[in-house]
Symmetry: C2
């Protein structure tokens, strides 16, 4: 098959040099390792379709890969070398950016930061961002239905996709790029492909929604008594404006770790509070007042009523960045403190205050000495639920406990009607846990997978 | 099977009286007629699941039915009596309405108007409405991914569904009601069920997004030169505000028919314009000025620049209603004038101005004497494309042409990358046309259908 691809599409379409392949055989966190005889790199949708057809003919499995920044081993080939990586790296053109309509049609290999820049140059914004923005690709973001920090207002990748172009496992091309706003011709393939982790086809391009660029923002830090109060604050803000873009909850111990380990950080409020919230409001030019004035107006009654114990609004962009730096440094501060077991989970928003408190208590009870805490996107129901070892416990002992701790967390999440994967997907890492906790769901996922990919050539061993 | 359902769930769960069944055997427009030995009516999700399991056991097909207001025969049973209607009429409870979060959990049989009322009573709004609101049900709206007049701002039913509860063809229950905002555990069953027309399962309940109730609205009527100018007006308005909720385009001949046939209607502007647009802006309390002031401010430069030839803003609610009445009476006026062949189609928004003009010309050329025109939701790319017979042509002669006319319209839509079903679905009516125009798509739809419903018991003969 590799010979045929080379013969048809030239040497650029096939990377078989071992040294150049190696970096793409291990996932970003170094947890999963695979083997692949080559990396195929189509330069067009037609080439990608031809490669999928060849793979089907030779019964060779393909592992679609974008920026290789996934968190669950979804883009890492199997160890036995039975599959070949199909990289979208050469499909990296922004095919069009309609500055009238606010729609970008981009190929799968376009790097997120490049799309950000292209949109900004035209007065628009692609409202999804995350830590790996300099490496991750649009195709990967769609295949994993990526989230990030702006989901509260704009939704996950699924909500930003107006249409998808993809090569299906039989080599046919699904072309949804016309991005019809109303189209009722049966099941939505665009929505089926979003979050499919490469198991139903190779996403080659997408039509994406843009929103007007931000002109101004206001950032505030609030001190609160409880996650329940934090949720009440969020509801009150959302009743007053549709411009709330960030609403991050931070427990006292996370804040303390940041102040302890991250140089240059300072307590945002005069005294300590059991819970903290960072709020961001943005203005794209449609507000009739400054976002600071709006935020102040909305926060005032919440402080007067005592719902918020204290609050500060950043006086300038430097202060705003300092507040965000606290939020964004929590993971780093925890890693400096010692080993941390992270969980990417979600529960219904209304249940999140209860869950954050009770699940942490339950984990600490079941594993004496450990410290569990949740922080993150309260408005999305997305908890970053971290567990740290008992003081003095060895890293080895903690590592030995980690599978049991994770099982407990997953059980608690499932009991709360939540998801064991809020953002990162299932990939290889959570496949067995999903099968354990949701066997019926997995049976249905498998049936769909089998229906569209009867030969099992698309990213086998992932998700199902 | 009917005996078993009666024995287990009582007489209320089975309607076998012929006189009471008959009204449900014909579709709303009287185009499709079927036969069914009984109507099964579960009162709970558990009962519905049990009925589906019995149907699977006895290999009896089920036809899910809500308000029976569909436009494509999707809820009409087959003529041969091989299937039984499964009605959601007894599952009509609003299970919860969270006035803090703006989320309603409602059963499939809840009538849309009842949800509107319940939301309004709590200061909220369910932002989807259509002509049959007094009869259509939430389950049917989801199964057909219904649209309506507010899609421009809030999207179709697919975008308003936070989660779905459904009985799948194997009798298992998919429970997505927790409405997680972030959940990446593989393919989205909620999104797969939206628009599935009862072929993948019976929707039993849904968690739906509510939005703050409207406090005030501004409605304007504009006179324009072309659909292209209309689209420029829309883009300009959307750059200035996110509150544009209606943007309807009306050609001169449609307006003339309304003024001719609908009593009490008056020309909205002083002189005639080749094209007209109705704009609606709404305020849910988050605007800092009145919607009239905002609309005036946004329209002023468009009139100054000559993009809009003329405009009037309704001075009060009665005037606003009069403007909407013109738009809403077009179909009635056309029916009064004579037979009309309607098409529910969509094209990419940016292409809609060209399509409306060229497709009408092409149809009139191919079928001399006919008059073709498009009106409807410009912002959604959704054209109501109507063809009327030549003056003096007999209704019979026109009826004889209608299949050929529709084929041409569908060919033109397909060539433009559009959809032969924007809002109504495929059902029985468009099944053959979909198979003709998109055989690969239908093959993939069939594969998914077969995977989840191997016995073919869910609404056979519809969609695929």
């Amino acid at each position: 098959m590799i010979e045929q691809v080379t013969a048809r599409f030239g040497a650029k379409a096939v990377q078989a040099d071992r040294a150049e392949i190696v970096p793409w055989l291990t996932d970003w966190r170094g947890k999963f390792h695979g083997t692949s005889a080559a990396i195929l790199s189509p330069s067009s949708t037609a080439q990608a379709a031809e490669m999928v057809r060849l793979a089907a003919e030779f019964c060779v499995a393909l592992v679609p890969q974008g920026g290789n920044t996934g968190m669950v081993g979804g883009a890492t080939p199997p160890e036995d070398g039975s599959a070949v990586i199909l990289s979208t790296r050469r499909m990296n053109r922004i095919r069009s950016l309609d500055a009238e309509a606010g729609v970008a049609v981009v190929e799968a290999g376009v790097i997120l930061a490049n799309l950000h820049d292209a949109a900004e140059a035209q007065g628009w914004r692609f409202p999804l961002t995350l830590g790996s923005r300099g490496s991750c690709t649009i195709g990967g973001l769609i295949a994993t239905n990526a989230g990030g920090t702006q989901v509260l207002r704009f939704g996950t990748m699924r909500a930003l996709v107006l249409g998808i172009e993809a090569v299906l496992p039989d080599g046919t091309i699904h072309d949804g790029l016309s991005g019809l706003k109303k189209d009722n011709r049966g099941y939505s393939f665009d929505q089926l492909l979003a979050g499919s982790e490469g198991t139903l086809g190779v996403i080659t391009a997408a039509a994406l929604r843009l929103v007007p660029a931000i002109r101004n923002r206001a950032v505030s830090w609030l001190g609160l008594r409880s996650p329940t109060d934090a949720l009440s604050v969020l509801r009150a803000l959302e009743k007053g404006t549709t411009h709330v873009e960030g609403f991050e909850i931070v427990p006292r111990d996370s804040l303390e770790l940041v102040l302890k380990h991250i140089p240059g950080t300072r307590p945002p409020l005069e005294r300590q509070h059991v819970w903290n919230v960072l709020v961001e409001l943005t203005d794209d030019g449609s507000l009739q007042e400054t976002p600071e004035a709006l935020l102040e107006r909305l926060l005032e009654p919440l402080i007067d009523s005592g719902l918020a114990e204290d609050a500060t609004i950043a006086a300038n962009e430097a202060q705003a960045e300092a507040l965000w730096r606290i939020r964004d440094s929590i993971s780093e501060a925890e890693r400096t403190e010692g080993p941390t077991l992270a969980h990417d989970i979600s529960v219904p928003v209304a249940d999140m205050p209860r869950f954050m408190t009770e699940a942490a208590a339950e984990v600490e009870r079941a594993f004496p000495g450990t410290a569990a805490s949740g922080f993150g996107h309260l408005g999305d129901g997305n908890v970053h639920f971290h567990v740290r070892p008992a003081t003095g416990a060895s890293a080895e002992a903690f590592a030995g406990q980690s599978a049991s701790i994770t099982r407990l967390v997953h059980d608690l999440v499932t009991a709360a009607g939540g998801s064991i994967s809020a953002e990162h997907g299932i990939g290889q890492m959570k496949r067995d846990e999903l099968a354990r906790l949701a066997p019926e769901r997995v049976a249905h996922l498998k049936a769909i997978k089998q229906a569209l990919d009867p030969k099992g050539i698309m990213n086998p061993g992932k998700l199902v």
